[in-house]
Structure formats: structure tokens, C-alpha cells
């Protein structure tokens, strides 16, 4: 098991120093190795588990139940302008 720690960190948008990456690598490998013991179990003919609870999804009727709560919700945002969220420029 060889984990590209830098790549995993980049995908998760976590900034790591080289020292942290070196330290985390073996730790992550131990965790994945632990989970990998499951691969030893013979699952021939066993249906994959989609969800831990054996239940079907409850559905919702298509009826509008929410009203405008913009002011309250936007108190959690660092910056807004004219009702829009302001974020650092996204380059396409």
C-alpha cells in the first residue's frame, strides 16, 4: 500500500508541510491496511450492502415548504453583497 499523501491532501484541500506528509503517510497506510483485512473474507454470492439499515428511502411530496430565510442564513457567511455570497475569485 503506497499512498500519495500530497495528492490526497490536495484533493481534500488540506495544506500539509513535507514533515506532516512524511509523518501522516505511514499512519494512513496503517489505517487502510486495517480496513483491508476485510478483503480476506469470502463475499462470493453476498449482495453488496448499500446502507447499514435495511430500509427503503422515504420520499417527499413535491410541495414547497420553505420560505425565504436569506437574512438569517447569510449571518453565517463571511461576506455578502446584494444578497449574493462573495467568494475569492474563481478562475475558469
Amino acid at each position: 500500500m503506497d499512498i500519495d499523501v500530497k495528492n490526497v491532501a490536495m484533493l481534500a484541500r488540506i495544506r500539509l508541510t513535507d514533515a506532516e506528509a512524511t509523518e501522516l503517510g505511514p499512519q494512513l497506510e496503517r489505517i487502510v491496511g486495517y480496513v483491508e483485512q476485510l478483503a480476506a473474507v469470502n463475499t462470493e454470492g453476498v449482495t453488496a450492502t448499500a446502507h447499514p439499515h435495511d430500509m427503503a428511502m422515504p420520499l417527499r411530496a413535491d410541495v414547497v415548504s420553505n420560505t425565504n430565510q436569506r437574512d438569517a442564513l447569510q449571518t453565517a457567511a463571511p461576506k455578502t453583497e446584494s444578497g449574493l455570497y462573495v467568494v475569492p475569485k474563481v478562475i475558469e
Partner: protein
């Protein structure tokens, strides 16, 4: 040696539900920014999604219409990526087991048809909208669209030209409008297309493909595919190699550019959505949805040809939308005598005028009953077909009935033989030479006399009566 273009399409269709996929927020278009959001579609911690039943039913209906398999148990997964218009940091989608699989659509190609395979239709949620224009160093985000239900319809790489791709998209677009599962408005982003394009020598394995993103009009899609195919051919012929990448088409420049570098190649790290148990639908529910299936465009076209004796062309024009087809059937119901005349007048005269005025059949100032009223007046000889066109112009203008226009403008056709005979005699008296020549065998002059009589009545004389009386009186 020639090149073959290979195209597969991914179409994102906004499902026209009243509420979002996983919460009770409204999906109405054009609301003030961020006024249709809640903790669920804003991705607040601890919120649980609950799936919209209507979105499920509309996806199943679409699946049945493309002759696909409906998976009675399907699942949801998280597709992970970071973008400010995706507040959760993942999109809820269906990756491993989609609701709909293995269907097809037959598209018109030349004189025949070609079957395009549809790999799958899965349910997912839309992202919000980012705005960059006119802003310095920042972007603005509106999350009203965040969580709006989408169907992603993925085709097989079965298309071999931009024209085939367009034919497929038009067919699909017409279908979703007929099924009323989406507004299909491309300008509002309700029908968006990504194209996977590669080239190969015929018979060889598929080449490396490039993905063209967010093509939002039929014209741009054609341009973008053709541009991309040529780019790849030139690249290979110059000894280069196509790399798998996402490219963005710039419609203003008519060219595409690479959008994501290789380092950031897609790695969505899909995993099962733990907040949603499997979606189960029963065979009975599917059967009930199938029973409610409306007549599809192909069936309707065929019926119009058989039942009303329409040409393939007219049948095609009148079945472009459900609204047009319903309008035509109302017209025939109101003027059952001549369905072909109904089709001619609707397709050529009415739709032509509406088109010129930039109007839709839904807001036509002349309704089906009114047009039938006009056709009745042609049938009973009150006006000629030629005058009827002027009457229709006036009806379009004023919204009045045919009878009101004919009355007000005094356009009633003259069919009275006494009055017509008098006119014919007048014409004969003023043109004695022509009468002489006609009687000496110059048959061609008959048309001249018809013209003169019609002119004298400003086109209001019944042409059939004029013809009949002229023949008799000219013989002398």
C-alpha cells in the same frame, strides 16, 4: 485515408418539479438571489436530504419513453469536488446503480433512422450559479439553483458526425418537452450538453477523447464538435497525440481551450451517500407510470399521417410540440370536413404569421375555433382562398372573428350570377377586339377575361362562378 468522428453526449436536464431534489425549497426561475435556499441545499452540517417523489416519477417516465430498464433498486453516491457554487463539497448523484439503464432513441438520418444507445439516466442535484463578470478579485454566488433536480442522460458513443449529434439532441429535447418532465429552455440552462469527441481511422479502436463542456445552443454544439474533431485530426496528422482533457468552447471565438490541467484530472472519489438508503420502486408503480405515458412524437406523427392523410412534412411540423398537436386537433374538431386544408392553413399561414410576429402558438391571437370559422367561409363560398389570407391578416391584427372582418371590410365574395354576368358584359364591351380574337380560336385569352372580371370586383367575385359564366357568355 479518411477519419471518423466518434461522439457521445451527456445531457443534463432540469426536472420541472416545484421543489428541489432533497428539500422543500422552490425551484421557480428568476427569484431574487439566495431567497430559495435552506440549510439542506446550503450544505449546513447535520441536515438530512429527503428525495422528491415527483423527480423520481419523472425520471422513470423518461426512462420508459426511451425503452430503458428501470432499476427497482438504485442508489445514491457522493461525487466530491470543490467549487464555491457547491456548498456541501459534494454533489449527490447516482454512480454505481442509476435509476435508469440501457435505453435507446431512434433519430432521423438522411432518409432512414439510426438507433443511438442510451447508457443510463441517473438522478442528481444541480449546483448554484457563479458570477465573475465585472468583478475584481471576487466572484458572486447565487445558490437558488443549488439542489434543483437533474437527470443526466448519457448516450453511447454512437454518433459519427455533428449532424447526428444535433439530430439526437433535438429528438431528446422534443421528447422531454412532450413528456413534460422539463421546461427544456436552453437559455435558462434547463437542457445542457457536454460532448465527448474523439477521432479514429474507420475500423480502428476508439481514439482518446476530449470532453467539451456546457454547450448551450444547438448551433454552438455543432460548431464546437466540428472544431474539436478538426483540431484532433490536425494534431494527429502533425504527429501529435490527443490528451484526455476537458475543453471549454468559446462561441465568440469559435474555438475551444483546455479547461483543467492534467494534475487536476477528475478524481471525484465517489462513495455511497450514507444519508440516503437505497431508492426502491415497485413494479406496480412503474406500471402505473407507464399507463400514464402520453402519446410520443413518433406515434403522433404516424397517427396524423394515417388518420388525417397529412404529408410526412406537415405531420412533422404539427407534432413538434404537444401544444401544436393539440391545437391542430382542436382545429380539425371544429372544421372536420377537410383535415388537410386545416393542416395547410395552420402550418403555412398561421404558423408563418406567428413566426413573423415572434409569437408562440400558445399566445396566438387567432384560436383554433376562429381559424375554423375562416375555413368555413371558404367552404361555403363566402370568400375565396385568396381573400381569406387577407382576412387572416386582419384577424391576427385585431383578434376579431372571420365573419366580423368580412362584414366590416365588405369582403363578401360575389357569387350572384346576375351581378357577375353584368360585369362580364361590361368587360366584353370595353374589349371587343379580344372577344373577336377569342372567338376565332385564341383560347389563351380566357385568362385575360378572368383577370379583368376579378379586377373589376377587387378580387371578390367567386372565381368558380366567373369561370363558368365567362365560358357561356364568350361563346356568344
Amino acid at each position: 485515408m479518411s477519419w471518423e468522428v466518434v461522439i457521445g453526449l451527456e445531457v443534463h436536464v432540469q426536472v420541472n418539479t416545484k421543489t428541489k431534489a432533497f428539500c422543500g425549497c422552490s425551484t421557480a426561475f428568476g427569484a431574487e438571489p439566495n431567497t430559495q435556499t435552506c440549510p439542506v441545499c446550503l450544505g449546513m452540517p447535520g441536515q438530512l436530504p429527503v428525495l422528491n417523489a415527483e423527480a423520481v416519477q419523472k425520471t422513470i417516465l423518461t426512462g420508459l419513453a426511451i425503452n430503458a430498464t428501470i432499476n427497482l433498486e438504485s442508489r445514491f453516491d457522493r461525487k466530491n469536488y470543490f467549487y464555491p457554487d457547491l456548498p456541501k463539497g459534494y454533489q449527490i448523484s447516482q454512480f454505481a446503480v442509476p435509476l435508469v439503464e440501457k435505453g435507446y432513441l431512434d433519430i432521423p438520418v438522411g432518409d432512414g433512422e439510426k438507433r443511438i444507445g442510451i447508457t443510463r439516466i441517473h438522478m442528481e442535484e444541480d449546483a448554484g450559479k457563479s458570477m465573475h463578470e465585472g468583478l475584481e478579485g471576487v466572484s458572486h454566488i447565487d445558490l437558488n439553483r443549488s439542489g434543483v433536480p437533474l437527470m443526466e442522460i448519457v448516450s453511447e458513443p454512437d454518433m459519427r458526425s455533428a449532424d447526428e449529434a444535433i439530430a439526437y439532441l433535438k429528438q431528446l429535447h422534443q421528447l422531454i418537452r412532450f413528456l413534460d418532465v422539463s421546461g427544456g429552455d436552453m437559455e435558462k440552462g434547463q437542457f445542457r450538453c457536454d460532448a465527448n469527441v474523439s477521432v479514429r481511422r474507420p475500423g480502428e479502436p476508439f481514439g482518446t477523447r476530449a470532453e467539451l463542456k456546457n454547450l448551450n445552443s444547438f448551433r454552438f454544439i455543432k460548431q464546437a464538435i466540428e472544431y474539436e474533431a478538426n483540431r484532433q485530426i490536425e494534431l494527429i496528422e502533425d504527429g501529435g497525440e490527443v490528451v484526455q482533457e476537458t475543453r471549454l468552447f468559446d462561441s465568440a471565438k469559435g474555438e475551444s481551450r483546455s479547461m483543467r490541467s492534467k494534475e487536476e484530472a477528475h478524481d471525484y472519489r465517489y462513495f455511497p451517500e450514507p444519508d440516503l438508503p437505497p431508492l426502491r420502486v415497485s413494479a406496480e408503480e412503474v406500471a402505473a407510470i407507464r399507463a400514464g405515458m402520453p402519446e410520443l412524437p413518433g406515434q403522433l406523427r404516424q397517427r396524423f399521417e394515417q388518420e388525417y392523410g397529412l404529408s410526412a412534412y406537415d405531420a412533422d411540423v404539427l407534432t413538434q410540440t404537444r401544444e401544436l398537436a393539440a391545437w391542430y386537433e382542436q382545429l380539425v374538431a371544429a372544421h372536420p370536413k377537410d383535415p388537410k386544408r386545416c393542416a395547410n392553413w395552420m402550418a403555412n399561414e398561421l404558423l408563418g404569421r406567428l413566426n413573423d410576429a415572434g409569437r408562440d402558438i400558445a399566445d396566438s391571437p387567432v384560436n383554433a375555433q376562429a381559424l375554423a370559422g375562416l375555413l368555413d367561409r371558404i367552404d361555403d363560398g363566402t370568400i375565396s382562398g385568396k381573400i381569406a389570407k387577407d382576412v387572416l391578416d386582419a384577424m391576427m391584427e385585431s383578434g376579431d372573428s372571420a365573419d366580423a372582418v368580412i362584414e366590416a371590410k365588405g369582403l363578401k365574395q360575389v357569387s350572384d350570377t346576375g351581378a357577375i354576368d353584368a360585369l362580364i358584359r361590361e368587360v366584353m364591351e370595353t374589349n371587343p377586339q379580344q372577344v373577336e380574337q377569342y372567338r376565332n380560336g385564341r383560347d389563351k385569352l380566357f385568362g385575360f377575361f378572368v383577370g379583368q372580371v376579378m379586377k373589376a370586383t377587387r378580387g371578390q367575385a367567386n372565381p368558380a362562378v366567373v369561370n363558368q359564366r365567362l365560358k357561356i357568355l364568350l361563346q356568344g
